[in-house]
């Protein structure tokens, strides 16, 4: 569970708009330093490869670049990227919807939530990855089983946050609405959901990387496309350059997703629910 203000934690790479002033990343000097550091690390890697460490294990930047370029040139990379992105997004959407609905439902039904409590805890403690073989059985080797794995990872995070948010709603606000003849449905839609909104968004935000993890893991277990498949395949071919190339793509994808989340969050902040 994550408190809604966890995204404002200090030490993040991206300073948000509410915290003006020169950020270390924003200043030109720091960017130069970071680029230099990257270049030095690449040079060290290139230098060490074959001399200090067998290039069979660590490959080298030139080879990784060549591999990457080759995949881009023949277009095969995009097939894999698209498969992973699709599974990630679909898993995120499906998991979020179910997680939010489940969180609200259990949040407003004390009886059901107490009834299901031990089972939910057990399911939550279960490493969700262990469900992968089951999903392959149920949904086949195609993209559906990857979507399912991503969705399950997302579902629990979103569920827990939504549930906590709903339980956190000020009872006085609920009583106030009920005294003004609000029906149960009105209490849920007009008081509970808006009140729990910041918790839900916090849950959605932290679950984005998990959707990617779910999709990639699913592809590693059984697939014929996707970045997870590609890294697994390259590994099984003892192709360390290929493995590194895929890792770079996955990292870039993760960064892009985070960037997307930042943009959405920034938009959200304009009508953000402000707590008392």
């Amino acid at each position: 569970m994550t408190a809604p203000d966890a995204d404002a934690a200090p030490g993040g790479l991206h300073d948000n708009a509410a915290n003006p002033g020169p950020s270390p990343l924003g200043s030109g000097f720091m960017v130069i330093c970071q680029v230099v550091l990257g270049a030095v690390l690449l040079l060290l890697w290139q230098g060490a490869s074959g001399r200090l460490i067998d290039s069979f294990f660590i490959s080298n930047p030139v080879e990784v670049g060549t591999r990457l370029f080759g995949w881009i040139a023949d277009g095969s990379l995009f097939v894999h990227v698209w498969a992973t992105v699709y599974a990630t997004v679909m898993g995120f959407v499906i998991g979020s919807i179910i997680g939010v609905m489940l969180g609200i439902w259990l949040g407003v039904s004390p009886f059901t939530s107490r009834l299901l409590n031990p089972y939910m805890s057990a399911l939550n403690a279960l490493p969700k990855v262990a469900l992968a073989p089951l999903f392959v059985l149920w949904f086949g080797l195609g993209i559906e089983s990857k979507i399912a794995l991503a969705a399950v990872l997302v579902l629990f995070l979103v569920f827990l946050n939504t549930y906590a948010g709903v339980r956190e709603v000020d009872q006085d606000l609920i009583d106030g609405a009920r005294l003004m003849r609000a029906t149960r449905a009105q209490v849920i839609t007009k008081v509970i959901i808006p009140s729990a909104m910041s918790w839900m968004f916090a849950g959605l935000k932290i679950s984005v990387p998990y959707a990617l993890i779910g999709a990639v893991l699913g592809e590693m277990i059984a697939a014929n496309r996707g970045l997870g498949y590609l890294v697994q395949f390259s590994g099984s071919q003892f192709d360390s350059a290929g493995v590194f190339a895929v890792l770079i793509v996955i990292a870039l994808l993760a960064v892009a997703l985070n960037f997307l989340v930042e943009i959405v969050q920034h938009r959200m902040q304009q009508w953000r629910v402000v707590g008392r």
Binding site: A177, L179, R181, Q186, V273, V274
Partner: protein, 256 residues
Amino acid sequence: MIDLRHVSKTFRKQDEIVDAVRDISLTIAQKEIVAIIGPSGCGKSTLLNMIAGLYAPSSGSIVYKGARVSNINTDVGYMTQKDNLLPWRTVRDNVAFPLELSGVAKGERAVRADQVITHVGLDGFGHRYPQELSGGMRKRACLARMLLYGAETALLDEPFAALDAQLKLAMHDLLLKLAAETGQTVVFVTHDLMEAVTLADRVLVCTRRPATVALEQRIALKRPRDVLNVRFTNEFKELYDALWERLRVEYHEERI
């Protein structure tokens, strides 16, 4: 109109049993303004919560207009100690909330909300959010909302406790004016004797926990009352002193 018959309430906090209210019987007439006064932390708020139907009494019964209160009592407007405006709604949308709940169209809602907002002196603040307002303004917004809801009984829990003296007077005036206009029955809890005597037709003094009614004083000051000057009249002073004397004895006894 509101009948409390031997009402008691006990709470169970883990193993500890807390007596909040013990055997209170009282009858509140329509259009009456009743002040319940007592030390902080006695069961005054519990009493209001029970009239509003938020808690059931542990024993005894509460009868509202001939019917026993067994569920949420939607005939009352309840202004809690902590204002319960919805923080994500503007003042206008908060005030219009009861209309929205009963399905009044959006355009009409806005018009009627703006009317009562002006009535409580909040004009120009309709588009603000509660957290942008001062405590007194939030109380006004709560009053406006209650007005729009049109409850026949208003329950107010220490409505003006956190306000400064001047604002308090303004709110007293507003409250009396609104009560006279709407013919509302008002039950309010306070620990300010001055406030109680200024506003009420009847003052009930509660003991410390568990709350029982220690004494009852009718305030026969004529209405409409001038909240600013009524306190300087001789009748006011006599009532105030008499109540204060008995309060002192009461509190003194309690302390021993």
